[in-house]
Symmetry: C2
């Protein structure tokens, strides 16, 4: 051991963060030791506080301080439209568009047999009990456009269509500001397939 | 505000870390919210504990849990050799070589007028009072081989030589395993200048 025990322990704990290796952990540890007292302890306090105060909304499974969350309680939102996303950060990304007038449901992941994640590890049971006796007419599946996200979308559409709910998927195509030359062939094929009359 | 306040606060605090932007801070925050309770609170506890227990050694200014630090107390170390480094992590780097038998002194920076760091911001006064009446015969200046490190080395050599102490500088040259082709010209010139008879 070259470092005093509390420093070594701090480096160890920092190395558990995603994308933080030994060198970054060391750099962060020395930053925290040299930073202002209020900044270093502020981070510690913020971690404790977030862990204590944040829970899952019992309606939509989004992270929230109060249950049900403000989005679920908002009476101005369209009760007939439900947007399904993988993660809480996806709710934030969708909200930034200011285009979605409906409600949300957070799956907390996507179906991925390779990682041992099946439908029962997601909040799909909560989704089903929520849709029963609800006013939801359309479910927009906004999972990520990758293998796991597509598998989840397919699974949900097979599950929800028999309930008489319209299931839609967000569009694939070229990102705005993109360039045909740099688009991969699958995206380009999807963009062609999803063409619209002008 | 799209995030609940405790999450937003956590993201804010994480963004104060070096090299952590908004996206990384968000990723780290969600990691901490989804991680095991013991891992998330373990990090918070490690920060608080490191801040509380770690101080500067009153002899060598290295970070330590006990004062004087174990390195300063070690009677097997050569009292006549003192290695001066910029940062506590440099002590660890030097110790990993297992070649340095002497003691250390940590400057906590290098002279850098551009950043407003002069000799009085470093632990040079502590160094001088330490060298007075000491058995130190040679001081090895192991500051970084950049402009600030060289300036600091020059300053120290002018300060310490009149005290009758031999001042040496770690060698410049090609790193072991390096390649002539990829060495910059200054390093190559220094390597040539520092050539030794075989």
């Amino acid at each position: 051991m070259y470092y005093p025990e509390p420093v070594a322990k701090l480096i160890d704990e920092l190395m558990k963060l995603p994308g933080v290796g030994p060198k970054s952990a060391q750099r962060l540890a020395f930053h925290l030791l040299n930073a202002l007292e209020k900044d270093a302890l502020g981070l510690a306090q913020a971690i404790v506080s977030a862990r204590q105060k944040i829970r899952q909304c019992s309606v939509c499974a989004n992270l929230t301080e109060q249950d049900p969350c403000p989005l679920c309680l908002d009476p101005t939102r369209d009760q007939s439209l439900l947007c399904i996303v993988e993660q809480p950060k996806d709710v934030v990304a969708m909200e930034k568009t200011r285009e979605i007038k409906g409600k949300y449901h957070v799956l907390h992941g996507a179906i991925s047999p390779m990682d041992g994640i099946g439908p029962e590890q997601l909040t799909i049971n909560l989704l089903l009990s929520r849709l029963r006796d609800s006013q939801v007419k359309e479910v927009v599946v906004a999972t990520n456009p990758n293998v796991e996200g597509e598998a989840t979308a397919l699974y949900l559409s097979r599950l929800l269509k028999p309930m008489g709910i319209k299931v839609t998927r967000i569009a694939h195509g070229l990102p705005v500001g993109g360039d045909l030359e740099y688009a991969d062939e699958v995206t380009l094929a999807k963009a062609f397939e999803g063409r619209k009359e002008m």
